[in-house]
């Protein structure tokens, strides 16, 4: 260089923590879409379910049949929407907030770390709430009717920390899978999605083929039944962490395009 370049005074430098926290705050600045709206939807679904339970128990009066119904209510999918919803939240957070943060001069690394902190925080908040609701559901004998929403058969009916862990693992799984998918979209646009879903389809078919050809379906079934739900929740951390790492690697060379 022939001239003296401008260097950066130390005083204006920010700490890594400041920058990551700024990204976390950016994600949480408008909580309407990912806290209040899903809670409102949840409340509505609960209300509708409650009415359905009332109607059922008003018509089914024999005690034996009522017990049968309660058994069936265990397989409620009413609260499962929240996981798909959070996946969409993560997709939006990456797809729209990434180009925005880039305009603010946020590095991809700080954005990825800040987003991960935001996602874990959000997952933890919902897991706490869902755990509390499941305990309440138990305490009230299924809201006084034997209904199931938060203690549905898919979740843990163990102690509170076990329930919390299963919920948390489920939220993290969906959020980070969503984030990694969105990162692929941000980087490669539609072509990235074609390749991603083609690869996913092939992987699922291949896994199915291997299990079928080796005659391992019973073993898989036994394993699922034996490790449900805590063992599965533990295992889900593997794809969750892989998605988080992959998402960051993909984002590292992504360019926000209009």
């Amino acid at each position: 260089m022939t001239t003296i370049g401008v260097t950066i005074p130390r005083a204006t430098r920010s700490s890594t923590l400041d920058r990551i926290l700024a990204v976390v705050r950016l994600h949480f600045i408008n909580p309407k879409g990912f806290i209040w709206l899903p809670l409102a939807i949840m409340a509505f679904i609960f209300l509708v379910n409650y009415l359905v339970w009332l109607i059922i128990f008003a018509t089914v009066t024999a005690p034996a049949e009522q017990a049968d119904v309660r058994q069936g209510l265990q397989y409620s999918g009413a609260s499962l929407f929240i996981f798909v919803y959070m996946m969409v939240v993560a997709v939006q957070a990456i797809n729209l907030t990434f180009p925005f943060a880039q305009g603010y001069g946020v590095t991809r690394r700080d954005f990825a770390l800040g987003s991960a902190v935001a996602f874990v925080t959000l997952s933890a908040l919902f897991s706490i709430l869902w755990t509390a609701l499941s305990l309440l559901e138990d305490a009230t004998g299924g809201w006084g009717l034997g209904g199931s929403m938060f203690t549905a058969a898919y979740f843990s009916d163990g102690p509170w920390f076990e329930r919390f862990f299963v919920y948390l693992a489920a939220f993290l799984f969906f959020v980070f899978i969503g984030a990694a998918t969105a990162a692929a979209y941000v980087r490669w646009k539609a072509m990235g999605m074609y390749v991603f879903f083609a690869a996913l389809t092939v992987a699922i078919v291949a896994a199915g083929a291997i299990i079928t050809l080796t005659g391992s379906w019973p073993a898989v079934g036994e394993w699922l039944a034996a490790s449900w739900p805590v063992g599965i929740a533990l295992w889900s951390l593997v794809p969750t962490l892989a998605s988080a790492a992959l998402g960051y690697l993909i984002l590292r060379r992504a360019t926000p395009r209009s």
Partner: protein, 296 residues
Amino acid sequence: MSEVIDVRGVTRRFGSVSALDDVSFEVEENTICGLLGRNGAGKTTVMQLLTAQDFVTTGSISVFGENPVENPRVLDRVCFIKESQRYPDDFTARHVFRSAPWFFRGWDAAFAESLIADFRLPVDRRIKKLSRGQLSAVGVIVGLASRAPLTFFDEPYLGLDAVARHLFYDRLLEDYAEHPRTVVLSTHLIDEVSNLLEHVLVLDEGRLVMDLPAEEARASATTVTGAATAVEQFVAGMPVMHRDSLGGLLSVVVGPLNSESRDAARAQGLEISPVSLQQLVIRTTDAPAREFEASA
């Protein structure tokens, strides 16, 4: 003198297309630099590379003396406002202005408030519902109030009316005088900003075709007007960038003229006038102008 931006031999290819082809230039600290050129000339690509949103294919870029890629020391001091900026879903302008200070240390909230009033921006309306001009105003306000030491405006005022554009020019100049910083501005409205610019970079099809202080750029071409025969005689042998004839009158754009040539022209009854920056850019990025560039 010190440069804030140093671009050396930068090429950016997308597949087989060269968006930028061996571009080199420097931008000095605390200047307003115009990045001009036609659509697709590579202006946005340059800005994306300088702000580390995109990556060079070959060549090197230094901003504040360092490579900007994933470099918070550089990016902390940079603000990039582009016409096509996307915002998170359901954001209002208020969300934008509330979060901006977390990222721009120099953010001046009072200045932002006064700009919001100036541009009459509805801050509680969702950004999706804003008009094109209001959307541009959001970017312009962030760009000005952030007081980033290096601010990029890429076509910042699409849809802004003449009053709002002049408001932008006025506020930019006022604030720039009080808080000197480096501004890189790309625009199509060259004549409007020509008084603002201290330096001019012109890109054409990915190549840098002009890199001059604005004063020199303006002096780099001259219009000679008069009777056709007299003009033809006068410009004989000079590379001609453009000619316009109307009846017996001829107007020709040629390179810079020294004072003797000017006197000689005037003695022959010819009129000598400066070329506007816009004219100059049009001439330099026109196909026939290539010969002129090659010979200049």
